[in-house]
Structures are given as C-alpha cells and as structure tokens.
C-alpha cells in the first residue's frame, strides 16, 4: 500500500515498518543512464539489481541477476540469467532487458558509460542466456558490472515512461518506487516478490537533510533512524550517545593537492617533493577530518584493490624541503596559489597549507572557484596547485589510477596535473587490460611507486566513511563505496 507518505511521519518515531534515512543530497534522477551521482546511486541501489553483486566490503560475488558467467575469451563473456526474476511492473527479466540496458547506456551517452566502454555488443542467445563481446580485454569488467550505474532496466517500462523515466523507475530490487518529493523526501516500499525474498523493512523514506549538523540532530532526536555521511564533528558528539550506533569504516576516497606539472616551478620534481615534505599532512588531516581519516602515503586508499600499502610516505621535514627548493633554484621560495572549490574540508587544508608553505618561503594565495568553473579551468591547466578528491568507486585500482595519471587523460578526463610518465602509462594500460590478477597487481604496485617518487600530487588523506544509526536499527552494514544496501536493515 502507498497511503502513508513521508509527510506523515511524526517527529519522534520508532516505527518498526518504516526505516527513515537521512541523506545529505537530493538524488538527481533514478534513471541510471542519466546521472551517476552518489545520492541517486544510494536510492538506485535499493530499486535495481546489477548482473554482478557486490557485498558491502566490495567483494564481487556471483549473486547478482546473472546466475553465472563464463569467460569464453578475454573479450567474450557468456552469462546466464537467474530465472523467474520479476520487475516491479510484473514483467520477467530476460536477456532482452540486458541488451536494451547496455545499448541505451551507450546511446544516451550515460555519465557512467565509461565503466563499460569496453563492451562492444550484447548477443542474445535465448531469454536467459547472452554473450557480452568486448572490443578489448578489460580487467575490471566484471567488477564494473556490479556498479549501480550498470543496473538492469526494464525495456517496457523505460520505453513507456520516455523522458520521465527518471521519476518512474522500475527495477528488480528489494524496494519499489512510491513517491518523490523533490528536495524533501523519497519513499520506497517493499517489493514482496523480490527474488532474494522480501526485505526486512516495509518502507524506506529517504529524507534530504543537507546540513550535516541538522542531519545529526535529526538522528539524535529520533526523527530519522539512520544517517549517511555524518560530519566529523557531529560524529564525535553522536558516538558519545548511548542510543546511537556509529559506523566508522575505511572508504575509497583519496584527497590530494595536485600540482600543475607542466607549469613552472612545478615541472621540477624537486619542487613537488619539497612541497610534499614541507606540508605537515598528518596534522592537517587531523584537523580537517577531526581524526576520521588516514594520512595518505600514496594515491590509493588501502581498501582499493591493488593499493600499494608499502609506500613510506613523505613525512614532514622542513629542512629537507628547503634544501630541495634551493637545489631546484628557489632558495627563497616563490609565489603561487592554491585553488579549491568551496568544499569546507578542502578550504581548511588550503588554509593550513598556506601557513605551512610560508615556513619554506612559499607564498600561496587561496582562490576559491565555484565547482563548475573549477573543473573547467583546472582541466585547461590554468591553475598552479589545486585541491581535489577522487573516489575509486569500483574499488579497483584501474578506476583509482588510470584517469588520474595516464597521459591520455589530460584535463577533463581526470589528469589535471598534466603529469606524464611513459612507464606509468604503460603500467596502467597493462593493469587495465591484463585479465590476470597477479599481473595486474604487479603493474599497479610499480606504478604507485613511481607516482609516489615523482609526486605529481601532495598525498593527503583517505577519508573514513562515517554513518550512524539509532540503536534499534538492525542489519546495517556500511558499503565501502557508500551505496549502502538497505535490504536487510530494519527497526527493531
């Protein structure tokens, strides 16, 4: 039934049937081919299923819509669909839907299409069997099929809704879409014919509460049962409360300060290393994240597959930094600027670094640029140093390295440092295309060593994911990439 809606929930609640989730951002669209933003993904995760299933700790299992798959060749995968899976509109899932989904994804130029751009075509064998043909061998292909952006859509429903599909999603997931009040809340209700069995809660209401503090307060007062992305300051306060359960987990996000490696003086590796040494990243991270982060020693968070955890890190050494600068010809430092968008954490880092760089004679102005022009202008290389983060959403090193460091990916594609290294280029391609995990690992470890040495970035931090629930909430297990699975979650 859909009579009860978001607006009717009382201020204080412990409603066993309805799980209320506080979320910082408004989803943009529930059409996976239209957007690939985190808030949307978090909802889509409950409505749709993917061919492959990824557990909360990013292990990819064969537990998805595909019952099994078989590697025919590095570029050919044969899949068998689970039988009897029904979409929320009652239709049964068939190969046709799969084919339709991936074709539409390409056609619409979906923001996440790059995930499967190796896919050339889907060949239907019968209703439950199809073969995926790749145009080149692509290591993380199977992993990518677990990403919510590659969820399988229902052809009929999509064609029927047309442009408005984003507000009328139909999936095979544990919850079906009920209502969306833009800017306020989004309601899902349990899909009783879910192929894994009905979900634990009858209803989920996502409430959009943009302010961190307000979200925390809503949890504290019991207006919501579960909140995502708790602010570090609030987390400390909440964790102290008895009726709140906090979840602090390692995430996939890397924070870094990039250098424009083609611009003086950052074209000199000594300058880049000197800055890495001049910064007290440890202290800054402690302040910026209130301790809810790990100081980065390399480009990949330890949770990412093939992360090189053996890198030594630069440490804080002002004297060496000065020496290096002198060696590079800047004994008295120089003037430069740090760009950032208005993300408070990045601004904080920038402010701290501004002070720390002063100690080695570098005068850095801070320039805050709005997000859209920030991306544009850093892509054009107008900057000196810039603050940015990267989420290796798939949990795979390819995602976490290729577009950031490969020389083909200059500018918009992701490499805003314009740093290039032939060997790294080669290693990244190797890692991307070699289906052999061991070979991939070797390539990525080496690549990370070089990146560390060459320092196109100042490596800053890997942010912890902070989530919290009321104590009566059962079954919540944070997903490393943030697409928390609510199938098993319920109010006790």
């Amino acid at each position: 039934g859909g009579a009860e809606t978001a607006s009717e929930h009382p201020a204080k609640r412990n409603n066993a049937e309805t799980l209320v989730v506080g979320m910082p951002g408004d989803p943009r669209s529930l059409d996976p081919h239209r957007t690939n933003d985190q808030p949307s993904s978090r909802v889509k995760k409950q409505i749709y299923d993917t061919l492959m299933y990824q557990t909360s700790d990013l292990t990819v299992t064969g537990d998805g819509l595909a019952e099994s798959y078989e590697v025919i060749s590095p570029t050919e995968f044969a899949f068998t669909l689970r039988q009897g899976v029904r979409f929320h509109n009652g239709e049964e899932l068939t190969s046709e839907d799969v084919k339709f989904t991936f074709e539409r994804m390409r056609e619409l130029n979906a923001p996440a299409a790059f995930l499967v751009n190796a896919l050339e075509r889907v060949e239907i064998i019968d209703d439950y069997n199809f073969v995926m043909h790749l145009s080149f061998p692509f290591g993380p292909f199977i992993t990518h099929l677990a990403h919510p952006a590659t969820a399988i859509l229902n052809k009929t429903a999509v064609l029927a809704a047309g442009e408005n599909y984003g507000r009328n999603p139909v999936g095979t997931g544990p919850f079906s879409f009920v209502e969306w009040r833009a800017g306020d809340s989004l309601t899902l209700s349990r899909y009783d014919d879910y192929f894994r069995g009905p979900a634990a809660s009858e209803r989920i209401i996502f409430r959009i509460i943009t302010e961190d503090t307000q979200r925390a307060i809503a949890l504290e007062t019991g207006e919501v049962d579960l909140i995502y992305d708790v602010g570090p300051n609030d987390y400390r306060d909440l964790a102290a409360l008895e009726e709140i359960k906090g979840f602090q987990t390692s995430g996939l996000t890397t924070f870094y300060m990039g250098f424009n490696a083609q611009k003086k003086p950052f074209d000199d590796v000594r300058v880049r290393q000197a800055i890495n040494l001049a910064l007290d990243v440890e202290a800054a991270t402690q302040v910026a994240f209130r301790g809810y982060a790990t100081t980065a020693k390399g480009p990949l968070a330890p949770t990412v597959q093939f992360a090189n955890t053996g890198l030594p890190g630069y440490g804080h050494d002002v004297e060496r930094a000065k020496a290096l600068l002198a060696e590079a010809g800047y004994p008295n430092g120089f003037s430069t600027s740090i760009w950032t968008n208005d993300n408070p954490v990045r601004v904080m880092y920038a402010e701290i670094f501004q002070e720390q760089l002063r100690a080695v004679g570098i005068t850095a102005g801070i320039e805050i640029v709005e997000w859209a022009p920030y991306l544009d202008r850093t892509a054009r290389g107008e900057h000196d140093m810039f603050m940015l983060g990267w989420v290796a959403v798939t949990g795979d090193a390819d995602y976490g390295l290729y577009s950031l460091f490969h020389s083909e990916e200059f500018g918009d594609a992701g490499n805003r440092t314009f740093w290039s290294n032939d060997e790294v280029d080669r290693l990244l391609v190797e890692g991307k295309t070699n289906p052999d995990p061991a070979a991939r690992e070797a390539a990525y470890l080496r690549a990370q060593e070089i990146i560390f040495e060459e320092a196109p970035w100042a490596f800053l931090a890997f942010r912890d994911e902070l989530n919290a629930t009321r104590d009566y909430v059962q079954g919540f297990e944070p997903h490393t990439a943030g697409h928390h699975i609510l199938y098993q979650v319920y109010n006790n």
Partner: protein, 308 residues
C-alpha cells in the same frame, strides 16, 4: 479599476522580458559548461562539443535568447539539465513549499509587527515602545542561518518540542517561519510605528477625538485604516522578498523550496531551471505587488478614484 488592473497586467510583460533578459545575460556570462556537467567529467571533448552544438550552446547570444523566449512563450521552459525533468515541473513541485513558508513568515511578521508597531506609536517614547523596538530590532539583526541554528538547539534539542528540519506538518513550519518572520517583523514594526505616528498627528484624528470617541475606536477605526497603506506596501514587499530570499532558511531546515532549488541550479548551471525559477519568482513578486496596489484601492477611496 478593471482597466487599471488590465494595464498593470500588461505592464508585467516588459518587466518579465527584462527579468528574463537580465537572468539570461548573467547566466550567459557565467563560466562553467553545462554540457560538460551533463556528461560528467569523463566525457571526451568531442562528445561534449557535440552536445554543446545539439543544445545550441555555441550559437550567438541573440539566437540563444530568442530561442529561449520563443519556447518560454509557448510555456516550454525546457528540461532541467540535471534531473531531465521539465523545468516547469521542477518549479511547480517546489513552489507550494515556498509559498507556504513565505505566507507563514509574513503572517508571523504581521502578527508581531503590527500590534507592536501600533502600541509603540500610541505610547511613543514609553518603556514599552523602547523595549518592543529593541525586540523587533534584535529579530532583524540576527543572521537567518544563525538564528535558525540557535532555534534548533533550543526547540529540537533542549526542549524536544519541534522537528529539527523537514517539510510537511505544521510543526515543521514553525521554526522556519519564525526565522524569516522575525527578520521581517522589524521592518513591519518600524513601518507601522512611523505610519501610525504620522496618522495620529493628522487633523482628522483630532476631529475623531473631538467627537468624543474612545481612544480605542480612534485608533482602530480612524487611525489604523489610514496607516495601513504604507504597511500593506511593506508587507507586500516582504512577501516578495521572502519568496526568493528564504534561501538560507530553506537550507538550514531542509525546506524543499524554490529558493534552495535556485541556488543549486545556479551552481550546477542548470540554465532552464534558473531562468524559469527567476521568472516564476519575479512573476509572483509582481503579482503580489499588483495585488497590494489593488488592495490600496479598497483601503483608500482616493486611490480608487485615481484608477477610474
């Protein structure tokens, strides 16, 4: 009178054209490429370019503006670049919340402002006058977002009587309405007070007293109605201001209003929503003011005579 209303309604057309032009111009010069935002950071340049061409973003200003106007006149504001929904629908979804908040805010402001204004005018320089002005001024002096946070601390956390954020029930409306209402209250108090002081000095008030009317009747029947014109004006202006100016309050309380949508749209370069939204707010503002002008005529027969 009807002719006057008609003329005023027709006058809205150039104003709306002007509004669309201003907004279009500002957005035109705003850096940030919607095509790129749409396709995501990773889209190849060629695709971005193709989309730009398809969206007509490379056309000269005049052509783009002309196209926008042409479509807008047919009631088509385009689709949101972010959500792919028709921009008009996005706005219509958010509009009730905005209206609700603005109306409640104005109500709060009026309920606080007018009585205080009247009493402090009739007791000019009394202790009550002083204190109520201080009270009203504190309301206007507090930055909305700060006041909002403080109220949440008080009402949601300490007293636990009101929901801290959200939209839907009357209880949800209380704090946002108080937050914006108190900042408008001072303006209304001020206007009521000075308008009443002005009216109380008038000869006809002396005439009313000379008839032997009680002070209450003199104030309520004779003074207030005359003082109402400038008050109604500021109330109208405040309402207009609250329509789009409640951005910060909406943010604090996660209020799903147009203001917040607009800020997001501006920042995401969601041109259709920005243009449509500003047009909607401007139109509402103008209509409210038109309404105020018509109200004048009902309050003041002299003005009605002018419209004839």
């Amino acid at each position: 009178m009807y002719k006057y209303i008609l003329r005023r309604v027709l006058l809205l057309i150039p104003v709306m054209l002007g509004v669309s032009f201003v907004v279009f111009t500002i957005m035109f010069f705003t850096p940030g490429d919607p095509a790129k935002l749409l396709l995501g950071e990773r889209a190849p340049e060629s695709e971005v370019q193709a989309l730009r061409t398809q969206m007509g973003l490379d056309d000269p200003f005049a052509i783009q503006y002309g196209r926008f106007l042409f479509n807008a006149l047919r009631g088509d504001l385009g689709r949101s670049l972010v959500t792919r929904q028709p921009a008009a629908l996005e706005l219509v979804n958010r509009f009730p919340a905005t209206l609700q908040l603005a109306a409640a805010g104005v109500l709060v402001a009026v309920l606080i402002g007018i009585p205080i204004g009247i009493v402090s005018a009739t007791r000019q320089y009394s202790l009550f006058d002083t204190f109520s002005m201080i009270f009203a001024l504190i309301g206007v002096s507090m930055p909305n977002f700060w006041q909002g946070i403080m109220m949440v601390l008080l009402f949601s956390i300490m007293l636990r009587v009101l929901p801290s954020s959200g939209y839907g029930t009357p209880a949800h409306l209380v704090m946002p309405a108080l937050t914006i209402g108190t900042s408008s209250a001072a303006t209304i108090t001020r206007m009521t007070r000075s308008s009443m002081l002005e009216v109380i000095r008038q000869d006809y008030i002396r005439t009313a007293r000379a008839k032997g009317l009680s002070e209450r009747v003199v104030i309520n029947r004779h003074a207030l109605k005359n003082a109402l014109i400038p008050i109604v004006t500021v109330v109208g202006l405040q309402f207009g201001y609250l329509l789009g100016g409640a951005v910060l309050t909406e943010t604090i309380f996660s209020w799903p209003g147009v203001g917040r949508l607009m800020v997001d749209a501006i920042r995401q370069r969601d041109y259709p929503v920005v243009q449509g939204g500003v047009l909607l707010l401007a139109l509402t503002f103008s209509i409210v003011n038109l309404f105020v002008d018509i109200l004048y005529a009902y309050i003041d027969p002299r003005i009605k005579a002018q419209y004839k």
